[in-house]
Symmetry: D2
């Protein structure tokens, strides 16, 4: 199976290693007629770029996206959109222990176990830089969704134990703080906590939440390609994610049916729900309410504390990860979560185009 492709109708293939000449993505199946520029993509890439604050690394990554195909006269043509981002930071260097040692919490050992060879420079294929291609594709998916009246928004819900309750959300301030939190005072508190982590040569985990507004009801393919199932694959495929929830998520395990069921009512001829414990998904199909999902992000595994490990030759050793590393992955992963949710939504909106004979008759002008 070719593991680097996601999506059936709207499909994205990413390629590239952290310290290779370039990294990129091919997006196939994007409908023609969507206005698209490199700025649209750059805007998204800039949201995951490091060095934006003291909580993200100051490495010299500029990550300029170039569109190589699939766009003509400012519009998508329906053919594959190839996007390339040249790696800036490719100078030959001493990779020291990373070359032969397996960093705890990283994929060094498992890549070696699978392939018997790995590009150890900067994590190679398992580097967070792989997500650049996803974000580029997500920019296109998001633009398409907006044309259909659908909005995707991701933000940081928690850093360590600093968790913003829903009642204190202020979506308007998400881009006002470097942690992309919907509440500036919680963001301040989280910032203090992260500084402590840095001081202790340690790192923190967190939670990202993502909402989709305006999805028509009925999107998702029953049984194995349910909307929530595909969103789970999409989010869990992001390196640092260890858990995924829809709606009330794990909370449902200790509620009762009478609490968890969302009652329907009519509002101006439209079917609505009084609550949204389901997170906008019933039976794997969107139910017309806001879709709410959450991803648990593990602490950055690269820490400068010395840790026990082994090398590729069967010896035990200790390793301290040098260089500057983010004390938290969360803020840079926010746009990755948003991108994966958008890509999934577009793919399933396209799949749904064949749900009813009526749709075919409409598009092919028969009836």
């Amino acid at each position: 199976m070719a593991g680097s492709t996601y999506g059936t109708s709207f499909s994205i293939t990413t390629w590239g290693e952290s310290h290779g000449p370039a990294i990129g993505a091919v997006i196939d199946g994007c409908p023609s007629g969507l206005p698209l520029s490199e700025e649209d993509i750059q805007e998204f890439l800039d949201r995951r770029k490091p060095g934006q604050s003291k909580y993200t690394t100051a490495r010299s990554e500029s990550d300029q996206a170039q569109i190589l195909s699939g766009v003509f006269n400012g519009q998508t043509t329906g053919t594959p959109i190839s996007i390339i981002i040249h790696n800036q930071d490719q100078r030959s260097r001493d990779y020291g222990k990373i070359k032969d040692c397996y960093r705890p919490g990283h994929a060094d050992y498992t890549f070696d176990a699978k392939y018997g060879i790995r590009d150890y420079r900067g994590g190679g294929r398992s580097s967070g830089r792989e997500t650049i291609g996803r974000v580029a594709a997500g920019a296109i998916a998001s633009k398409l969704l907006r044309r259909l009246g659908i909005k995707v928004l991701a933000y940081t819900k928690a850093i360590g134990n600093i968790i913003i309750p829903e009642a204190e959300y202020n979506y308007g301030c998400i881009y006002d703080n470097p942690l992309y939190m919907p509440n500036n005072s919680y963001a301040k508190e989280a910032g203090d906590y992260l500084e402590d982590c840095v001081k202790n040569q340690d790192s923190s985990g967190g939670v990202i939440e993502c909402i989709l507004e305006g999805m028509p009801a009925g999107i998702g393919e029953p049984v194995f390609h349910k909307l929530d199932a595909k969103l789970s694959q999409a989010l869990m495929s992001i390196g640092a994610v260890k858990g995924v929830e829809i709606g009330d998520g794990f909370q449902v395990s200790h509620t009762k049916g009478s609490e968890n069921n969302d009652s329907f009512y009519m509002d101006n001829g439209k079917i609505c729900k009084r609550t949204n414990h389901s997170g906008g998904v019933l039976g794997g199909l969107s139910d017309g309410s806001r879709i709410v999902l959450r991803a648990a992000i593990k602490p950055t595994p690269s820490i400068s504390q010395e840790q026990d490990t082994v090398d590729a030759y069967g010896g035990e050793t200790r390793i301290a990860i040098t260089g500057r590393h983010d004390p938290v992955i969360v803020p840079r992963a926010v746009v990755v979560v948003e991108a994966m949710a958008a890509i999934t939504a577009v793919d399933l909106l396209l799949a749904n185009m064949g749900a009813k004979l009526e749709y075919l008759e409409k598009v092919y002008n028969r009836n």
Copy 2:
């Protein structure tokens, strides 16, 4: 996209409605040479069958599996294995309000929104009976895994607030209590809680945990088809699941890197980990440790309390779900989780057969 198929190399297609003439699955890509009988499948089906205890419904479902193809002289032949289970309970009846009303917490509304038509009898395609096909396929996958020295085991970790701590697990007693809990006294407590739920015309959620032992390191396909990503899709595709975790799951959001990283050490020439916060997956590939996943199961949406809802004609109404319904989905879903995990593991083990040129040379006897 055809939503009823899962898996690329080892592929399962389920079909059938709750009250149609039959329900079934086609399993394609099963390697030849695996001994297989209808008893192997029946053993799994019997684990999800209702009426096994007072916490599961006493409907007259016998669910006898018949193998229609793909097995010859007691062995799989490599061709598609078609399994059929005739529905017993098809008599014509009055479906009453279910026909036109949208039951809260069910997929009635969303199926209507998607397709404009639905088989309302017993939930049709969105019924829990759809999972029968998955369980049948899971029986085959499990048998194949055992041949490779890999064991999959699922059990109930929590019912409502009755949560068994890992330290009190006793895997030996899972099949000794009707809730499939690895601790009989917690199971007793959970049983009492469920009786209360029944008395109050209510239902409860819970948590299922699943472990895979013996997976070689390196299984999973990097980037989008990571082992944990596919397991998440697999589990979230089960109707009642609202959250999925790997290893420490949401717990990682408030731990630190120094706590969450698992140190490597050597044990008799084998690379091992001192802890298993990762749940056996690093960078989306198995790391040789026990794989641990959890699924949050929502409370049964069918409750006999009266609830507000709407009908297909835009009217508001109230509905009480009559008939006997399980006060908890969890025990019957245990084997479904186990089945989906096994199917995913086999699919990725097959995909991994092409990871190294060395494997091809071995199979095709070159070098």
Copy 3:
């Protein structure tokens, strides 16, 4: 890879062995709202049924199709349509030499080479009976196409050297002769030729032609999933097919550009072509003209003449295929070709629903 599934949006999975308990197909992705009955399917199955004339075997195959799912109140519901056909001819018998010998021209040896085990009864999975599932799916696809104003028609163009020139086609008489030829006097001549073949314990090949009328322009997915590429896969996947052509086919190898190019002209505001050497496909997309394809069918490999062969134990031997066998596969394969063309057309019409942003805006009522 699961080899028994074809199609991405409109997908068909066939299963079953010649002498197993049943044979069938699961069709997933059929749009909801299509009126469908067992009679619709039976009508197609009856066209491939043996014993219709002296050129096809008189075995007692009745092949009654039963719909097990996906249809409710006479309409498709959008969920998988499972169709089963019980095998009549399953009695235990002496399979004699077939059990261990490799019949020339058959797949006995190659199945053994691949799987190490095969159901030798009646050819098992490689039997022509496998096409029953395809024909059932083709009946559904054809009905859907007719709703969109598209018609698929297949017929016998040649039996041995009796080839009907296009100028002598009379589509009206195709069902008037047992060979499905569009000219009764050629059919008579072909019949005489086949009687000679029978007398000489021999068999004949032939050519099937298939046309699609009414396909809108632009159907097919550029590059690898071109309309003609998918039609070629579809036709070549039928056991006895050894060659496939579109339009002028192999003829183009000795024509010139000035002859082969089809000039465009306007007819009542519609773009038309003066000739149709392309067979209705340009650059892999339908060009609005009639789509014309042809498949070369090999002579029935089962002949009663004695032939040299080997057995599974490495011994040389001779075999004469006993029992009644068609002296020609062509007439029974006509409806299989039609079915595969229809399935392919529907799959690509569905894929094309996402070609333009305008289509999405139309279906989702935005703009």
Copy 4:
């Protein structure tokens, strides 16, 4: 459906327009441990490069391949191999009539019909330059096949009516003549014929033959992904191909079973066939003999004779294709056919790795 991806286990995605900044391919699923360099790829690209003889255009295409990912220390790593070829010939120019007119025999009209917009510069996505990505991928597939002892070879069998009979093949001289014909005197004759075509502002079709030697028996996936079915899709997906044959191909339509069946015999413990009418494929699986396929190539549609056509505004007009164009596509398509056959063979060899439980036990060291 994303039409620009081919292959399930060994997958290739091509992207790029004729006159965009670059063109390329992403190859995913290549096993690790294969030695690979840019020279390996360049060697294949050079075989399709124009300007090699007077029968191919002298445009300044240099087509230098650069590997951007998936290769480390001279070996494949198992991660996606991204290959880019920068387009040299991108200068802005006057595209004249091509911009709005539909060239006969080209995909201009059908792309406009599908997408409503097209990159008209040099044919955009439907240009023959798209095959560069396929050839690059084919170079990798061929190298992998050679490691397994399998050889793929394509050559020109016919140009117009100059057809080389099999008895006069001399594989040793294929690269000695600019038409890649396995007989220099036929090549000389074909050259004279092509000069006539040029003089008459016309073009010629031809036939390419391709053989695969050394394929183990049993490769191909029964039913829809048969070896011959996938090869047909692969070859027919090449722009100019209008027909595909396996073994005796259309010839079988007028032979008899007694002639067409290949008898088996034993040779030193190995099962062999006395003839090879089947072209190395029985029941869709390789039978251990040489695999033989042929593709019919249409005459270059770009001719300088004036032709009738229409424009995008519904007007009738005439067009003469200016610029230098190959009078025949065949020689440059030879390596494309070889590449597509190699890619297909690798994909199915990988799929076959899961055919038997025995193979899994061998790779995972269980038994």
